[in-house]
């Protein structure tokens, strides 16, 4: 039997450990519970609009075509997503929309048919029967059973029928039918393009063997330029936006490195004997780091206006603080021996820094810069959303207007690809430069 006091002290130790082991998760749980109350999680569950999530998901992978009748002017228009810039011309109207007299017959598939007949709209729903909306005086609704089912939202001035196949909305001024389709519409070519409406195979064969669609321009370059200037997706503008974002990160990161390097010497103990100077420089670093690029963006947009330069300068200022701190730490860790070796040959100060210090710190600095390059690409996206530049602006505004979720999806994918690409690039450069330097 071990001595009693030894046993007791060990058991006490284990009890203490047990208490810690229980207390830490308990504390975390208590904190999380407090936050759940403070953030009103219960209320959130009620407020959450999962139907919005459904809209978002559906819209991200599909598009809708609007068939709109202006009830005052009595005109019919078929357009993608209701956009003025994607209106089907007479010859392009898809065959599920057929004009008949003062109206149209719209086939929504699966037996669902909507008929426009002057101010009257009839929606023939299989297994339910025809629903008639009359817009000649307010909006009146007639349904087979007499009682309104819950997929019809009606008031004296407006009615909406929502089914799995589409949606019909009628007011006194206009009637609109929506049909949903999978995929991103007109991603490659817009309606005004000569390639519009072709299948992938047709486009390919036109490019390879077809007669020139436009005199004097090869079909390939025509296809490329039509794609680039696509009115709906604006690939050219998006590419510029991505470029601007990367540019902000690039200029900001390396510009900051240039500014920070000399200042870092002033903050490093082994290069600056004056405590006060060091202290001052360090506090400056802390300050610019703490202010954050966001605030700088706002401050600088007064002087430089909106645009990528403002974003780049904001990143530059913040990172000067971060780099200053990191570089001065790297400088404080340099080995004095090579410096002394260089000094013993009669080298002057410039030469001592060049050969004694730079070769030692360069790999460290370079690797830090490249790390920042990647994370700044992400910051630049956010800054762009605030100063007005780059992919960040396009993305946030597309989200905030809550309409073009397919574009939002497109931009998000582009941002992810861009950040991952910058990450791989910086990783690759790090391996190349630092091994071979």
């Amino acid at each position: 039997m071990p001595a009693d006091d030894l046993r007791d002290s060990t058991i006490r130790l284990m009890t203490r450990k047990r208490r810690i082991a229980l207390a830490v998760p308990a504390l975390i749980l208590v904190y999380l519970a407090y936050v759940a109350v403070a953030f009103d999680l219960g209320g959130l569950a009620q407020r959450a609009r999962l139907d919005n999530a459904a809209i978002l998901l559906a819209d991200a992978v599909s598009h809708k075509v609007h068939v709109t009748r202006d009830n005052r002017r009595e005109t019919l228009q078929v357009s993608v997503e209701g956009s003025n810039r994607a209106v089907f011309s007479e010859s392009q109207i898809p065959d599920w929309v057929q004009a008949q007299g003062d109206g149209a017959r719209i086939d929504l598939g699966a037996g669902h048919v909507v008929t426009y007949d002057g101010p009257r709209v009839v929606y023939d729903i299989p297994d339910y029967g025809p629903v008639t909306l009359d817009t000649s005086d307010g909006v009146s609704v007639q349904v087979p059973g007499g009682t309104l089912p819950d997929f019809i939202n009606a008031s004296p001035t407006r009615a909406t029928i929502t089914t799995d196949q589409g949606r019909v909305t009628a007011t006194a001024s206009r009637t609109e039918t929506l049909r949903y389709f999978w995929g991103w519409e007109m991603f490659f070519f817009d309606l005004s393009s000569p390639f519009s409406g072709m299948t992938a195979g047709q486009v390919l064969s036109t490019i390879i063997g077809g007669a020139p669609l436009v005199e004097g321009v090869s079909n390939l370059s025509l296809a490329l330029s039509e794609f680039w200037t696509n009115d709906i997706w604006q690939h050219g503008a998006v590419a510029w936006a991505i470029f601007e974002t990367v540019l902000m990160a690039f200029l900001g990161t390396f510009g900051a490195a240039f500014v920070a390097l000399p200042l870092a010497f002033l903050a490093a103990q082994n290069f600056t004997p004056s405590r006060w100077l060091r202290f001052a420089v360090r506090r400056v670093f802390d300050f610019v780091r703490g202010v954050d690029a966001l605030i700088f963006t706002i401050i600088l947009s007064r002087a430089f206006g909106p645009g990528p330069l403002t974003g780049a300068l904001a990143i530059l200022l913040t990172d000067t603080g971060s780099f200053g701190k990191l570089f001065s730490e790297a400088l404080e860790n340099v080995d004095d021996k090579p410096i002394e070796g260089i000094r013993s040959t009669g080298a002057n100060a410039v030469q001592r820094y060049r050969f004694g210090v730079i070769p030692q710190v360069l790999p460290v600095l370079l690797s830090q810069m490249l790390y920042f390059l990647e994370s700044n690409t992400r910051s630049a996206t956010i800054i762009g959303a605030i100063t007005g530049g780059g992919i960040g602006l396009l993305l946030t505004q597309a989200i905030q207007t809550t309409q073009d979720w397919e574009k939002v999806t497109y931009y998000i994918l582009l941002v992810i690809v861009m950040v991952i690409a910058m990450d791989s690039l910086s990783g690759w450069l790090r391996r190349k430069l630092i091994r071979g330097a």
Binding site: K337, P338, E340, G341, I342, R343, S344, T345, G346, A347, N348, V350, Q351, R354, F355, G356, P359, Q360, P363, A437
Partner: protein, 272 residues
């Protein structure tokens, strides 16, 4: 040629080098011995100008080099090469560049900063490396070399300076016996063939006895012995090192034992 007059270095109250005086006429191989903290390194660093002196003079051909400042001091340093225990090379640069650093003082700053060395300089550096038997290593990075090779690069850098005096601060302290011998042989060859003065701090008596023309013993910053190796008896050594009767010379020896047959046998068995 070299005339040290009462050279002194104080660190605070403490005299690391305390009124050291000596004269060396020709290109001798001078060894300085003494226990740790005796002031050997400080004395060499004063001579090279790495540590400013507190007093005294060191006259080289009549000029007091302790009084030099700025560009003059750097010019002196370029004629007085220094070799360090830890080699003090630039580890990430290649061997030739490290050797070329010996003439930093004689080339324009902008030229050196951009690494634009004249072809003739590069060729001379390679010749020096060849003379020291490490020309093959020329394109490698210094950090990729073994300790002995690195020390030879450091010697090459010293030779590149074309110095009149070579100072060596425990040049073989971090080397194994094999490499230590190569490095000391090299230093001796330079001393004899080129007629350059070598002053080396040494931490083992037998090395001093074997290679030096003259040995100086230091203790607590003062010169306590100055003579030829033959005068360096065990009794004198005890005085220098402040050791008592237990003092056993072989404990400090780094010489390669002449009879290594036992080891070889063992190694062969292990490798079998």
């Amino acid at each position: 040629m070299l005339d040290v007059r009462s050279a002194t270095k104080l660190f605070g109250q403490k005299a690391a080098v305390d009124h050291v005086s000596m004269t060396v006429d020709g290109p001798a191989f001078v060894g300085i011995i003494g226990r740790s903290g005796a002031g050997k390194s400080t004395f060499l660093r004063m001579m090279n100008g790495l540590t400013p002196a507190s007093g005294g003079q060191i006259l080289v051909e009549g000029r007091d080099i302790l009084a030099l400042r700025g560009a003059d001091m750097r010019a002196w340093q370029s004629q007085c090469a220094m070799i360090f225990q830890q080699f003090n090379l630039v580890p990430r640069m290649d061997v030739v560049s490290n050797v070329l650093h010996g003439i930093l003082n004689r080339r324009a700053t902008w030229q050196t900063v951009l690494n634009l060395w004249p072809r003739a300089d590069i060729i001379r550096a390679l010749e020096i490396l060849d003379r020291l038997g490490i020309a093959e290593q020329a394109p490698k990075r210094a950090e990729a070399l073994s300790g002995g090779q690195q020390q030879r690069v450091a010697i090459a850098r010293a030779l590149m300076q074309d110095p009149r005096i070579i100072l060596a601060d425990e040049p073989i302290a971090s080397l194994d016996p094999m490499n230590a011998q190569i490095v000391m042989d090299t230093l001796k060859r330079i001393n004899v063939e080129d007629g350059r003065m070598v002053i080396a701090n040494l931490h083992t008596l037998d090395t001093a006895r074997r290679y030096c023309d003259r040995v100086i013993g230091m203790r607590d910053g003062r010169v306590v012995f100055d003579g030829v190796p033959a005068q360096l008896t065990t009794g004198v050594a005890r005085d220098i090192y402040g050791a008592d009767a237990d003092f056993n010379e072989s404990a400090t020896s780094t010489a390669i034992p002449t009879d290594t047959s036992a080891d070889a046998e063992y190694a062969a068995r292990m490798l079998a």
